[in-house]
Amino acid sequence: MAADDEPLIDEDAGRLVRPYTVSNGRTAPTRRLDLMSLVASTGRVGQSDLTPEYARTLRLCKGPTSVAEVAAHLRLPAAVTKVLLSDLVDAGAVAAQAPRPAADPSDRRLLEILLDGLQRRL
């Protein structure tokens, strides 16, 4: 059995982790979150009330931030990050975006906003 910090076995894949060690053995998030779900601190729970892993997670979502970004900064797999974020939501420390229907590719108004936003970057 590989150790926790065993380096890459398959260079195309990521590192090997024991995901449950940072999520206190929790195996499933209590909230439905996907990579694009946005989360934000509510400001109602202080970092000093949290264990370091949760405090780090909370610090990463001061403003609306995607689950993917939080995971990237935590250097944890997205699935583990979702468990941590769900716990913070349950504790009232983090608000999660209500699930929304996927963006409609035929939503003309949305597409015009994207077009304008991208053209401003040229």
């Binding site: 590192r15 195996t27 946005l38 699935a79 963006a103």
Partner: protein, 191 residues
């Protein structure tokens, strides 16, 4: 906080995929277009987690993960565009399922030296009716194909745009995204 009344303070996040063969320049493209340094995160690969989040049953196993890159472009205070790079190796194709879920469209990057490497990406988006364009990433000195040659080689439909880009250049990557959005505006809604 409850948002059942529709008062959702969060911006709308939309997603565009950047796909193509391994080493074609997806991360470079994302970095050029993104307002942040491209980030990388990992999704778990286990029989238990493929396709859903439940880690149940993996407590006693060491689990391997697949990394993917992404970037972000803020359009306005209420709209954020995320660019997600698909894992380049075909054996991670199942990751594309979650990544493509809800995607507005896709940029398929093609390497002119290895056009065939983007076949699987083209197939994937055609099969799922996700609008896409093909951007040939023109490396210095690479043989230049005409758009029609690329279209023919990849057996693309007449409606799929083919253009060239330089993934290293911010303006070029942004112009490629603009072409994709114009394509989305032009194509009729999927039946």
């Amino acid at each position: 906080m409850a948002y059942s009344d529709g008062s959702d303070p969060f911006p709308t996040a939309v997603k565009v995929l950047v796909a193509g063969g391994f080493g074609v320049g997806k991360t470079t493209f994302i970095g050029s277009a993104s307002e942040i340094e491209p980030l990388s995160t990992e999704e778990l690969i286990t029989a238990a987690s493929a396709g859903h989040d439940d880690l149940h049953g993996v407590e006693d196993k060491t689990t391997t993960t697949v990394a993917f890159d992404f970037g972000r472009i803020t359009m306005d205070p209420s709209h954020v565009l995320y660019l997600f790079g698909t894992p380049g190796q075909d054996r991670f194709w199942f990751m594309w399922e979650e990544l493509s879920n809800g995607a507005l469209g896709a940029v398929v990057l093609a390497d002119p030296r290895r056009l065939q490497d983007c076949f699987s990406a083209v197939d994937f988006f055609e099969h799922r009716r996700i609008p896409f364009l093909v951007a040939v990433n023109e490396f210095d000195g690479a043989y230049r194909y005409t758009a029609e040659e690329v279209r023919s080689a990849l057996k693309l439909g007449a409606g799929t745009p083919v253009l060239t880009c330089d993934a290293r250049v911010a303006r070029s990557a942004t112009e490629t995204l603009i072409a994709l959005v114009r394509h989305l505006i032009a194509v009729p809604a999927s039946p």
